[in-house]
Amino acid sequence: MSTELTHAAYDSKIEGNIVFTQLDAAMNWMRKNSLWPMPMGLACCAIELMATASSRFDIARFGAEVMRFSPRQADVMIVAGTVTYKMALAVKRIWDQMPEPKWCIAMGACASSGGMYRSYAVLQGIDHLIPVDVYISGCPPRPEALIEGFMRLQRKIQGEQSFLAQKKELVDALSQ
């Protein structure tokens, strides 16, 4: 991709409607501002997740108010609560059904590490099964903490180079 910008031919009809940027930056900007969560509410943390979604904390300000109960329409899985072994493989299955690109937030002590449940029944952290992008501490974390985690995820997405990586892969595949 040439980094040198050239002027578009002048057209008064589209004046002001053109933005020059890099493809990655544009994609990331769109992705990070419309993160549709898959609310994996498994225990008490889900109550705070619900509070985050409702008007007082209003996660809609971050474009993430569209809770999708179908994994196929979701971008980020928020694992909010205690993951029992009985539920663990169901969580994994739902994660597998989510289309790429996808991210995961482990909300609260239980989802991050098993929390206070050092027990025969509880998976000791959802990262044993699926990759986690952001861990949020707290039992339960306050909605502000979830929003902070969300903003961290947005920052992480902003730094991704998916298009560049794809191009590299293509070049590698062609040169073989």
Binding site: A88, L89, Y117, R118, Y120, A121
Partner: protein, 190 residues
Amino acid sequence: MTAAETALALQEKFPGAVLSITEFRGESSLMLTMASLIPVMTYCQGELAFDLLIDVSSVDNMGEDPRYVVVYELYSLTTKNHLRIKVSVSEDDLNVPTVSQLWPTADWHEREIYDMMGIKFTGHPDLRRILMWDGYPYHPLRKDFPMGGLPSDMPDVAFSETAPLAGGPFVTSSGAMDRVSAEPRAKGEK
């Protein structure tokens, strides 16, 4: 008729069925023989109007014989009496007749006992595990089951691993003088 009088009346009505009667703070507990459980329970539910089965639970007295006790909490909404019925279950024969035909609520209570303690209820309409998954190989509330659990694997259904207890502070023993000696880390539990 108070609960204590009920207990005595039961002893009279079913000679040999009641092994012991314990009175504690106004509560009566009867230890029954296994064979007399169903006749006595039927009588309690019918004639004595114990129409509410509050709870069924089980106790593991590891090291004693018989090892387990199943405890039934009965309550009568008409006479306002509370009665506790117990039967001992030996490790060699883990079978107890079900009472789910008398109180339908016993169905799930007995399933929980079967799941957690491994006591089987003969005649139960649907004796499946209720908390753990079908095929889980252990009964977690038994005293010889480690607190952190044991690994198990049923591909595509569920799996479990041993939890890292790291001297886990979440169970205390009573009677200790201070917090430190009450916690299992002081007892060297893994």
